[in-house]
């Protein structure tokens, strides 16, 4: 009796498993075919267009790629150095500005006001404009002691712009921590500052790590904006090659270098978002 039931059950189970496998196989096949068809049609469309021979010559010239790539790579090293140092400044400055914005002490009102004005203004102005204003404005003041190296000025401009964004990310993280966590800290006898330092900030920073990384990806690309002040970074070098030879392949080479850094970063963000545990209990009501 029992054996019969088990047999029937296992038959059903095997039938379902087989159906599931065939469904999966069919799905994979359809996906493969549709990818080939779409990509094939796109390739056909582009290569059959009347301008394609010219485009191939000016954007995809192996010769131009080979001659320009070493110099562009050297320029890209400057991008990387600039990105890393600006990022370090932004991480600290953004947190500082966020903390200024959330202070409630009356004596610190001017600080809070400044922080609000800073974030509003710097987020409101296009980054390329800030690079111009800082890069050409500060040297024009002719105050001795102020930097006039375009790399430092460009980095400063980027740091200002991105600190404003990152400050808002930090602030949203701080405000996302439930007030009951603060109550619990105070009830234990911690001061407000200690509650922030040991309870609220650690949770806030963990929560905003993925959006912070997103801003880093944006910054990594925007480093190219420093080129308008003159430093020979990847985009600038590529531009010079392109102008000299009427061939745009060097720009494509520069694009490849940026992508080689941003795509791994983006995957890292994805993994962090997937890996982050759902909000934990102890914070309700």
């Amino acid at each position: 009796m029992t054996d019969a039931v088990t047999d029937i059950a296992s038959d059903r189970r095997a039938a379902r498993a087989a159906a599931r496998r065939s469904r999966e196989r069919r799905g994979a096949l359809i996906a493969a075919v549709s990818t080939v068809v779409v990509l094939g049609l796109l390739t056909l469309l582009i290569t059959q267009s009347s301008g394609w021979p010219t485009v191939r010559e000016t954007f995809f010239s192996w010769q131009a790629f080979k001659t320009s790539f070493p110099d562009i790579l050297r320029g890209f090293w400057l991008d990387v150095k600039l990105f890393v140092s600006v990022e370090a400044v932004v991480l600290v400055a953004g947190l500082g500005i966020a903390l200024c914005r959330i202070t409630t002490a009356p004596a610190l009102f001017p600080v809070r006001l400044l922080a609000v004005v800073f974030t509003d203004l710097l987020r409101g102005i296009p980054t390329i404009l800030i690079v111009y204003l800082v890069g050409f404005g500060i040297p024009a003041l002719q105050i001795s002691g102020l930097p006039n190296d375009p790399i430092i000025l460009g980095g400063l401009a980027l740091a200002m712009s991105y600190s404003a964004y990152v400050a808002e990310v930090y602030r949203s993280g701080i405000e996302s921590v439930h007030p009951s966590q603060r109550s619990a800290s105070l009830a234990l006898g911690l001061s407000s500052a200690q509650a922030l330092r040991f309870v609220i900030l650690p949770q806030a920073v963990r929560r905003v790590a993925p959006p912070l990384l997103n801003d880093f990806i944006a910054l990594q690309k925007d480093v190219a904006l420093v080129s308008i002040l003159g430093p020979l970074e990847a985009f600038r070098v590529a531009q010079i090659y392109a102008a000299e030879n009427f061939n745009y392949t060097p720009l494509l080479a520069a694009a490849l270098l940026y992508v080689a850094v941003t795509i791994p970063l983006a995957r890292l963000v994805d993994r962090m978002q997937r890996g982050s545990r759902p909000p934990v209990s102890g914070v309700v009501r």
Partner: protein
Amino acid sequence: MSTVPVVELRGVTKAYGELEVLRGIDVAVREHEAVVLIGASGSGKSTLLRCVDLLDEIDDGDIFLDGEVITDPACDVVATRRHLGMVFQAFNLFPHLSVLQNVMLAPLRAHGMHRREATDHGRELLTRFGLGGREDDHPDQLSGGQQQRVAIVRALATRPRALLLDEVTSALDPELVGEVLELIRELKADGMTMLIATHEMGFARDVADEVCFLHQGRILERGAPASIFTAPEQPETRRFLGRVLGLSE
């Protein structure tokens, strides 16, 4: 009975805007005693406890800790809170810290205890209350009952003069309530001074030296648990007890 109460409220009022939550509360909790607050949701129990721990500011009256007023605007709020322990309905454990770190945080940071001492004391307390072996777990790896026991141990770790318990079993699944109440009974047997808000009437009857029935911000009736639970005088008390105990009036 000439001893000074550990915690005392005299004529305490508190309003949120137009809403008067506490309307002249007098309560005294003497050393080693447990005073239990009962009453419907919204009767002011939680607010009363939050006011004692200075998490909410009272409007009128005064609150005393060991005979000294703590609700004077000149008082050091942070220093006062260090002498009281509070446990919340929703545990409010710190999710980014391990169980042991939760327990050690206040001794380490608020009381300036040495790390070594705080660690030993924390481990000892956790073991004593059946949480040995869970020191390195994070709160979300524990059951609700275990989390609330950790929260109680965390409040005890600073050796408070009195413990304030705010409906500590209301967020728990029924089968987890017992272990938490058992722990509080142990604390009572050890002589801990406690002010407790609860909906658990059986527990209130066991552990209370005095029961206060709150109704619309006032203490309508108070007395030994035996008299309140067997012969309530006020009709509101009778109605409330009838509802929570499932008895007819």
